[in-house]
Symmetry: C2
């Protein structure tokens, strides 16, 4: 399949569409309008129609989108139509939470190997996965055909883990450590930077309470 | 202080500047150039100068920015110059990870109360905080002057928790559940949607391995 060039903003919205469409499918709902999608996902229906039109004419006026067809298409576009194996490094609370998080499986991404630099954790079990020492990373990545790595180690260790991922052949990294990692060429790094999300909330708090008015505040 | 209207993109970058500036300050580094900031944070130096110029003339040509002054200014802008109290609902692995995460304190955001709908968790301790039942939420929010809430419950329960937050008087929510929440007017919701970040990585994997060339892939 020839890759289509899609804007980053659209690529980030597609998993959100996909998640909601999966819910609809599970509830045996077969069609959905851009209006419904927009309302549920807090997005502009026109934006949704534009995003989806990117990939051809999926929807029909007055009928809406066929849910299962749209799921299949979005999976194809995101390259989630085949299983993608994931490695995770760092088995603190956050790492363990992610390992136990079942939704990956449904969307064809699955954590298949878990690592920790702390030798004392070697051999412990997290959701049926055995914690391995870092020396095993490279071998596991090749053996299990792992293409994505998740970093849940403290900030000071994150760059080092990222480099070990890249050396092992991983080309996609999701970083949870509160630090900006240096990306090697050809490697894609996404940040799950919840501390930035949290701190930026503060800015809006005062704005909401102090200077906006009459918008339903208690 | 009269609030300045700042674009969302800038508000989201400020905590990332702040974090790095805090590191510099801890290392007793007193000045930093937009060039250094850009390199470390993987941002365009011109963008950084533009972001910071928003708030007056901080930097001096050839000298750079005074680190501690810039920290103080960004904290003021983000309204992090006073302590902001945070409540968390959902004490699974992710909730516990967040409670143990110490950086909040440094940036004047602190989790001060923890709740779980599961009665059997009542009274257990997480990082010196006692898990409380949901019935205590409203009282605690008032008593401890809590303005921000974090949601780390399963997707099906998240909207209900958000509504309880809003009823209790909370106006800023950081949602970790993989679902889009309906926002009440005057309430700001940020999503820490790491599943979307993870799934969107897949799109770039094939692009990197398949269609881009000669950019340093092993």
């Amino acid at each position: 399949m020839k890759p289509i060039k899609i804007s980053e903003a659209v690529v980030r919205r597609l998993p959100i569409y996909l998640r909601f469409l999966n819910e609809l499918s599970l509830s045996n709902i077969q069609t959905v309008s851009s209006q419904d999608l927009g309302e549920k996902l807090d997005l502009n229906p026109a934006q949704i129609r534009k995003d989806l039109a990117y990939f051809g004419e999926f929807g029909r006026k007055g009928v809406g989108y066929n849910v299962d067809y749209l799921i299949e298409k979005i999976r194809q576009i995101l390259k989630l139509d085949k299983m993608m194996n994931v490695a995770l490094v760092g088995t603190g609370n956050l790492g363990r939470a992610l390992c136990n998080y079942s939704m990956y499986i449904k969307d064809n991404m699955k954590i298949v190997a878990v690592f920790d630099a702390d030798e004392s954790k070697k051999g412990t079990l997290i959701n049926h996965l055995t914690v391995q020492p870092m020396q095993e990373l490279s071998r596991s990545v090749k053996q299990l055909d792992i293409s994505v790595g998740i970093i849940t180690v403290p900030a000071v260790e994150a760059q080092n883990v990222a480099e070990q991922f890249v050396d092992a052949g991983i080309r996609g990294i999701l970083n949870f450590a509160p630090v900006v990692l240096k990306a090697s060429p050809g490697v894609r790094i996404h940040n799950a930077d919840f501390t930035a999300e949290l701190l930026s909330l503060a800015y809006y708090m005062d704005t909401i309470n102090g200077s906006k008015e009459g918008d339903g505040a208690l």
